[in-house]
Symmetry: C3
Subunit: 337 residues, 3 copies
């Protein structure tokens, strides 16, 4: 089996992703394995984490492997990834060396690196993880950059557990309020996975400035078209919730104001009433609701909804452990360290 | 066996605590075990640690388990624990989600969370660990909040090793100098454990403003009364040391000045001569002396005393490893993850 | 076997060091071992690390042991190491207690502690690791202080792999440009190991102010004399590179300006042309080139050289894992925890 990375679900077919979810369900029932026996994984965090760090470390351990957590925020120098750079500025090391040396020690490399909210045209290329994947000689796993593919599988696993076959069902991604503009990664991921699995995808946003990057909008439209499903964007709350089978809540910053967020404020204000609450959920077809964690209660989703049976967020978070074990097991199969 | 937390020794009987100490002695002779085989513990640090982090991580490993260290100081968002809060301020996550998700991954959760020195009326309720214990579905262990129960067992184990049966022996908790006002946790814990184990408890303070919180003063008086022992507070050094069998040194801030420490300075100055030294120790009944670590030499305790046979601080620190293994083993017995 | 530390290669004979390298080669072929079964190592970092942390943690794991990473930068109080100090300033703990308690938990202690660039007369004594080694009751390993002995073995292993017997071959340590004055540790180490293994050692510096501390200059001259080799210092690039078999690049700050670096700038400017490039390498005897990582490309070494077969830096970095396992195995042999 040739070496594969797990950078985005775009690179994996629906049946491959379904196999990972199916394997994750086996791990839920029977957590131990030996796929990583004698193997190790480096967890490289350029941004903070609680669930991701815990679930990857524990998952590797339960598969017989050893995780090494590297906090790259303050403990490690920044890394250069431009080819041919004269490195007389901040970075002390080129990704070529960093990736190759790490590959000589461990069997898998997982990376969390959020965009810096400075220049979306550069950051939409996901340069750090792309460069690591280019120079690493072991598989690289995305622990959230500008997409969050592990969260996608955890979400889809939770949806299937409650809705059964999701094909043809209505999935709503709703923008929700938050004091700060956030990364679009989970929003990008939500429409990728729902469309890839054949759901009708609706996006509810306060204004069209909240449209996501064309790469992800385009992919989702294409996946929907391939599956004979609908993809739509609306600013109308009632229309959006009406008959939905699954509601996914997420807040993000509008890309046209990327890095200059003051100007986004009036658009953000238009979504002040967008919190998921019981009245909106009553418009759905007895829909379920989820959110990746952390989640601000009574800002993004009202207590009454979070504390109801409709809320899948805890299951989705638990599923992270199971799906990541399936991913590590699958990628490690090709390595021989 | 129903699930139990280890939040404070107040919730555990003397015989239960003695069993933990007895088991710790077995671990000292024979360190390996399998009580945590296939199990894991999250170590959640809201404050720094050297000994606690090392001894819990190593202890879990020696029992066949896996510890995951989560530095919650900068790497994780603050957590909301008020019921029904509209979370539009700092915290990104509610303890309900944090505790439930962590419980879905690991089998035990240990927490270090010092008070913030802002508002003792709120902080005396120990809100963070109390909330975690409420929502976690696995046992929670206190790694120091406003009490330090693991340190208590380590101290009592060291005392028994040197004094044999401690009942009826005289225990002195002496306030000692320190440049800064410190947490009362270890002082609270010292009088809890000494009184619970039937020692006569004396407190030596520079001024009555150093009286501890009524919750702990009251509990210690009650435990002493139950055991037919004396509990007393004094500002007289000679009286305090006279005939003592065990001296425990600790510095702490006076609660009436909590968060407004400038006004405490004149009271603190009254204790300038309170360092434990050879002259004071000569007043004891060939007494032993201890201190939880870290400890400023020649400020809290003079070199001549620290470097004498009377000093139990290193044994007490070593005992942390042994007692914590006994605690983890006991609490894990009820879990089935 | 009496307990030994691994603080500097100065304390180890050439044949002992060769045995460690030979054992490292065995580990490269067969990575697993059980020398640390049931044992543990504390990795105490006073400065950041990526490779060192990963390679020690993984190495301990592959030998059946358990590594505990202690980030002593912000998470742990500073430590006093002066005998008899009245500890009323910053440090909360004396190294006597820190070292003894850590020794009661673990079987090996590894320490990284760079000098503070304040007072070379004090820092040249390497006070922190020296004090730990004095009071620890388990072996102490140097993970880089003012020397970097693990890197030395990794370098010599890489040199022998490419050059065969290195005795009588010409080793050039060349100062290279860098925006900031750096620690002299790796430069000290480079001349120690090359001279101890019987190479002719040349140092190329922009000015004599870049002469290293007499302790290391003297040791290297002595080792060279013992082996019948030459030791020389030059500011002439052509002379330095001419006929060299191995080039080692490193940047460091000039000791006469220690802590007052502005005054060093004119001397640093003299080395502006000292980057290792193809033209300089053409003067060598088909020489190899290396650098400990991290390494600024096109500032210290040109891309064309780094990306050529002559570059050993990746192998040297990989060797860190192997040699450190040999060191841990050897030191742990004497312990019985």
């Amino acid at each position: 089996m040739p070496m594969r990375h797990f950078l985005s679900t775009e690179d994996w077919s629906r049946s491959e992703l379904q196999s990972l979810i199916d394997r994750a369900r086996e791990f839920r029932d029977s957590p131990r394995g030996d796929a990583l026996k004698g193997k190790s994984i480096a967890l490289l965090f350029f941004n903070p984490s609680l669930r991701t760090r815990t679930s990857f470390d524990l998952g590797a351990h339960q598969l017989g492997g050893h995780a090494i957590v590297l906090d790259a925020r303050g403990s490690v120098w920044p890394v250069e990834f431009e080819e041919g750079a004269v490195m007389d500025q901040g970075p002390e090391e080129h990704v070529k060396e960093a990736a190759r040396v790490l590959s000589s020690y461990v069997d898998l490399i997982a990376i969390r690196a959020f965009p810096k909210f400075e220049d979306w045209q550069a950051e939409r290329e996901d340069p750090l993880i792309t460069a690591y994947a280019k120079y690493a000689t072991v598989p690289v796993i995305n622990m959230e950059t500008i997409v969050h593919p592990c969260q996608e599988l955890a979400l889809m696993m939770a949806l299937q557990d409650r809705l059964g076959d999701v094909r043809g069902k209505d999935f709503l991604l709703t923008w929700v309020p938050h004091p700060k503009p956030l990364n679009t990664a989970v929003a990008n991921s939500a429409i990728l996975i729902a469309s890839k699995f054949g759901m009708n995808v609706r996006m509810l946003v306060p204004d069209e400035v909240y449209t996501l990057d064309p790469r992800y909008m385009g992919a989702a439209e294409r996946f929907c078209a391939d599956a004979g499903c609908r993809f739509s964007l609306t600013t109308n709350v009632e229309e959006a919730y009406s008959g939905a089978h699954a509601v996914y809540a997420k807040s993000w910053g509008a890309l046209p104001f990327y890095g200059q967020w003051e100007a986004e404020a009036p658009y953000r204000a238009k979504g002040a009433g967008f919190m998921v609450d019981e009245a909106k959920m009553a418009l759905t077809d007895d829909g379920v609701v989820s959110h990746c964690l952390p989640m601000r209660r009574n800002v993004k989703i009202a207590d009454a909804v979070v504390d109801s049976q409709a809320f899948l967020g805890i299951s989705e978070a638990e599923n992270r452990l199971h799906v990541q074990k399936a991913i590590m097991e699958t990628l490690a199969r090709g390595t021989t360290n």
